[in-house]
Symmetry: C3
Subunit: 269 residues, 3 copies
């Protein structure tokens, strides 16, 4: 089955994201479309990186991921298509694939890219303001329908990447990262992975400092019964990152975390 | 066609609900997935009961309903799968199927349950915090792909049920229920069914009291032209429950109903 | 493939829109359903016109579009089905197809209508309050499954249409329109099309007045770098309409536009 996912910042209220569905079905009537998210913060390439990277690689090999978070629509920025590992991507060349490329580097996956310059794979009348409909979706549909990546444009080897979140270790052994994303529960997802604090006495012997609050020890799961609902907890999220959460909770009552806020993990003293 | 519905409290902004889609397609590529709702109030098992029971039985027989509203993820609570009538369910054993089971009892449908204890039907690396992806979705996909319920786990006969909303009749003939849910229009859905007030002079001879307001008589439909937009009305909702609505309206202007608030129906005097 | 789109004002939180999916799959198991939008403002037929018309014609010919924005449910308003050009529609006869019919007139497409009066194509027990489930979805599914339009009801030639947005030219050459819709970015979509201001010196020599603000000249694209983020810009939207936007922006900071507000385009002096 030709699987396609769509990630945009269009919202879902106005229905304009479904224009992408219509354009795809016109070219690839057998496509199975999943709306990955249409609620990326408008023009937020960094958030798009987080959202896309967290979900796309759970789809079957060969899935085509179309991403339309595109502050530069109508300017000279290139539209591109890519193969990253066994997945395909169609997106503006604005760094929105950076997290997936970092993952490919970590996993040892190969990748290849083309600049989309063959209008015969686009809709007939390309507007200046809706490349999602006129260009990215049709190209994604052709990929899903079996057109080889190399047919869709000219090979390039310099896709734009942007700096993303990370973590670094201080001389005293403490590790500093940042908040990447606030999820729908108000939980703060932090740029700290298990390997990066493996030298510390995880889980019980560490302290997590975030937004002026200090959390003593990490827990294994939300349902840990010794914590009540007015307690901040830190745990490993299903996607691998450290998560800071108001237990059983909807966040925002104890701390008001925001993307970019600093998070520090150190030995509990 | 193998139909699957998904109900979670993940929200749709972050895209993590689509990880379930990806996990399902990897096992059952022909699955037809419907997102029933991903906007259940976080960890609200009671609301999940309402949402699930209202929609699932309109799907074709054999549909698999995966429910991930799971405050106890990572604790000892059992993951289960069930057949209720002609429908299949995969969910944590936390009472989230109570409304469907009450309906089965009322309709005379049989049901059967298994505790999910066969990891060969899960994803390879089960995390503590994302059983939706690692366990419930894969099991749902295997069910949809034709694996018999009995293969997926060990039979049990003691699934957890929780007390739900109801109505009771006082000695004076009045009937007391409660508000179950506030819908997207601000309407209050009440736990009162036609049979329970059949001894009263419905529709014109009853009074409905809710949140300090008294409504005289029930109407047949929203469009009833003799009521203006600043009037509270009571009518039968499409799902069978009594609905209290600000006519033509978006609620919250006349009364501020909340789930659990008392609703009383009595003879109009 | 039998493509079906759904447009309602149900919201997505409660899951009741998925009852339509279930009802459709029961009749047309091969249907490919797209949720066009379930977030039309409650009972807002005018907004539904805008949302539907902007997306439906991008779907493949033969697609069935089911629209349930229905303030008159349960009253005498007729349920209808229509063919407009190569697309099918199922909806209440309340003017919700007006924009599509205006487009058909402009494009020279033919159309035909039936009043839905054949209960054998509905669900068995039609309630007074949920025609989306009981009537519109089943009829849409039968259409998608190949039942001819003429089988579903009695031909009519007087579908209700409602006045929609437009633009008119004053004696001094200025053109006055109105705001149709505020999108998820806070942009104001205006009822002014390129042809209607072609006599003015577009793009640089025009002034756009809206909500007390005056915008000098139109830009070609959002990414136009000479404008900063505290500037109002006017440009052509992908759907063809004039769009007023706070550049790079999420609107509402400079002006607070609302549907119905006046927009005037005149020669810049």
């Amino acid at each position: 089955m030709p699987f396609i996912t769509l990630t945009t910042d269009f919202g879902t209220r106005q229905g304009s994201h479904t224009v992408l569905h219509g354009a795809i079905y016109g070219i690839a009537p057998d496509a199975v479309i999943t709306d990955l998210s249409h609620e990326v913060k408008p023009q937020d390439i960094r958030e798009a990186n987080f959202v896309v990277n967290n979900s796309v690689f759970y789809f079957p090999p060969g899935t085509v991921h179309v991403i339309v978070v595109d502050p530069g629509v109508g300017t000279e920025r290139r539209p591109i298509a890519a193969r990253i590992g066994e997945h395909f991507f169609v997106a503006p060349d604005n760094g929105v694939l950076s997290a997936c490329l970092a993952r490919a580097a970590a996993e040892g996956w190969t990748s290849e890219f083309v600049a989309l310059d063959k209008p015969e794979y686009w809709l007939p009348n390309v507007t200046m303001t809706f490349h999602g409909r006129d260009l990215f979706s049709p190209v994604g549909a052709h990929l899903a329908a079996g057109v080889p990546l190399g047919e869709l444009g000219t090979p390039i080897d310099d896709p734009i990447t942007i700096p993303l979140w990370g973590a670094h270790r201080h001389a005293d052994g403490s590790v500093e990262g940042e908040i990447i994303y606030i999820d729908d529960f108000g939980n703060a997802i932090c740029s700290i992975l298990p390997d990066e604090i493996a030298h510390l006495p995880v889980p019980d012997g560490v302290e997590v400092e975030v937004c002026g609050a200090r959390i003593q020890g990490m827990v294994r799961t939300f349902g840990d019964s010794e914590y009540d609902s007015d307690t901040l907890i830190a745990l490993w999220d299903s996607s691998g990152y450290m998560l800071v959460s108001e237990n059983n909770g909807t966040g925002g009552k104890i701390i008001q975390p925001r993307p970019g806020d600093k998070v520090t993990v150190r030995r509990l003293t």
